[in-house]
């Protein structure tokens, strides 16, 4: 089937400066880079399905209990939510710019944008923590001690909050993981690990960060923007 013709593709590969380490089982840097990119996208695919289950539950219960969802959603702070969305979008921009800077081999700029991303991500988590605290104070945590002042359907409002905490919690945990990875990347970028020829980790992390942003782009209208007009509220 296969003839044993030797192919020496790898010989020169190791000596390319600036491409980073070529792992032993790859033939070329290109193959290594492609593998990482495909791998990252496939990973994001699984992430999408992971959140998908929660979205499904959300859509079903929202159809079942529209009033409960409306009154509970009105308990969230619309403008704080919009502000936080803005913060996250800013961090997505700085991340995109970080990748851009990396591709141009500008080390200081890269570090700067990564730090900005980190700070914005931190700000987002801070606001989220404030919101959680607020819910905590008001006993709007589903479970045995749930209370919801002014909510009419006491039985089904916890369902909204269960989904609220489930979805934003999962989202926040992705942010926290991203936060950790960012710290490492900033340190690596600072010590000059990346070059304009090789900055795969930055690029891959960028994909991840933007994905987390996209999830929030959907969470915002779904959780904060239900029936703000008060139309069907009692």
């Amino acid at each position: 089937m296969a003839s044993h013709t030797a192919v020496a593709t790898k010989a020169a590969a190791h000596s390319h400066p600036g491409y980073g380490e070529l792992r032993h089982h790859f033939e070329s840097h290109e193959q290594q880079k492609d593998s990482a990119t495909i791998g990252m996208w496939v990973f994001l695919l699984t992430e999408l399905m992971f959140f998908g289950g929660l979205f499904l539950a959300y859509f079903i219960y929202r159809q079942w209990y529209p009033e409960a969802f409306a009154s509970a959603s009105n308990k969230t702070d619309l403008w704080l939510g919009a502000f936080n969305t803005t913060v996250l979008i800013c961090s997505s921009l700085t991340m995109a710019l970080a990748v851009h800077a990396a591709s141009k081999g500008k080390r200081i700029l890269l570090v700067g944008f990564l730090v900005a991303t980190l700070l914005l991500g931190g700000a987002f988590l801070g606001v989220k923590a404030y919101e959680y605290h607020d819910k905590w104070v008001h006993h709007e945590i589903p479970g045995d001690h749930f209370e919801c002042e002014g909510c009419h359907d006491e039985v089904h409002t916890p369902l909204f909050f269960a989904l609220y905490f489930g979805m934003t919690g999962l989202h926040a945990s992705h942010m926290i993981i991203g936060f950790g990875v960012l710290l490492v990347l900033i340190w690596q970028a600072w010590s000059g690990k990346f070059t304009e020829k090789w900055y795969t980790p930055i690029e891959m992390f960028g994909l991840y960060w933007h994905f987390v942003d996209i999830v929030w782009i959907f969470l915002f209208p779904l959780l904060y923007l239900i029936d703000r007009t008060g139309r069907s509220l009692l």
Partner: protein, 546 residues
Amino acid sequence: MTTATPPVKEPKNYLNAEHGLRSWLLTQDHKRIAILYLIAVSAFFVVGGLMAVLIRLELATPAGDLMDSNTYNKVFTMHGVIMIFFFLIPSIPAILGNFLLPLMIGAKDLAFPRINLISWYVYMLGGTFGVIVLLSGGVDTGWTFYTPFSSSYSNGYVVLTALAAFINGFSSILTGLNFIVTVHRMRAPGLTWFRLPLFVWAHYSTSVIMILGTPVIAVTLFLLMLERGLHIGFFDPAYGGDPVLFQHLFWFYSHPAVYIMILPSMGVISEVISTFSSKKPFGYTFIAFSSVAIAVFGFLVWGHHLYVSSQSAYAGMVFSILSYIVAIPSAIKVFNWAATMYKGSVRLEAPMLYAIGFIGLFTVGGLTGLFLAAMGLDVHLTDTYFVIAHFHYVMVGGAIMGYQAGIHFWWPKIVGRMYPRAWATVAAILTFVGFNLTFFPQFILGYLGMPRRYHVYPPEFQVFNVLSSAGASVLGLGYLIPAIYLIWSIKNGEPAGANPWGATGLEWQTSSPPPTENFEVTPVVTTEAYDYTALTLTTQEVTHVG
């Protein structure tokens, strides 16, 4: 090939390249990781099998004389959980797939060796939680974890069990991800998609299911843990939830998961039938595409588990017709395998015996799946022993038979030595006979109306249950014998040579056991797969030809 009597120094291979526990536990060699999986997965099979022995012992009499109901329920739950999540799903992909995929496509390793090792550790972590549950008394929800029983009524170990399966899911996701990237980017020069061995097609399809389905069960189990642990309601009607939603989410993964179990096995069968008929598989493209079709359509049929669950009848109709559609690619495979043997040069070596067993048993199992896919009939059959018989036919008679075929086929490649072939023949026949004796009576029991998950049952069902228990002991023997001779052969078997069966795949072109780097030089592929005419070996060189 002559058996070397004086102990010649073995050439360097992945087994003797390094020594010591460390060199195994920190290895990034896909072949060594496959061995790690082989050991762990086999251990779980023994545990799951012992649970099966307990079940069959208990059911030999109608009364509950061996254990109490609570224990019985825990036993079949752990049997199901272990066999599905910790044995069958990782079995072929993580062992044979891991070992062979890079070899078959002429690569040095999988795309992400580190992730491959991590996936094993993740598997072990999940397994550890599973064992903790087992040791601390177990959980009694059934492997399906239906709410609200699991979330509000069963004992608290549900959380730990769900966590075990949850963690294990990530191991599966990582393996799938690795395989996909590997098949896309690591193929040897000249190895186009339609030159890939069918085993690779099967694993590619399996990986697609793993990465698209597994996250959904993960999030479902996550919600279950929240509901059970923190009383945050998602599924319990007491909280306004819908228990049927849980079932949808559960089966959205778990139906495709049955194809995670069978597809790799089908891949093995394609290789084995072709090799031992010395003939290119009939309808290569049809077999290849049917794997992809199964992976895709397999995602659309999960609701056939919900016909009596109060799912809407109209949704049931959709799921029913799709279940029939997804059966067609399986039918195509079966016919093509049979046609491959036509005018071949058939050698009834042990792997081939298992493969033939697979074809017969999978056909019966698959056809009885059609009974269950028919809504009107499933109303009577669901949750009876008919279902138990159906899925043991496809999983034990199908998937495990295929696994055994694969192990017997590639064992000489993995350890470099041949097992005693007469014993292998005996074991194959015992397994086949024992299997049918165990599970055929269960079809009859099921139609008679014996419900599954029953600790005690009305006495009129006893005859068939006794038959089944008797069969299980023969079947157990059928598993015990290979366990002994395979281990024995590691040290004492005849050296096998690079290509003992006269097979065509790239994996047979490197030495047995393969060197750490797999190939001395990266092979270049110039011909179609299964081109036996290009095989330069003569009959004399093929050591083990009949």
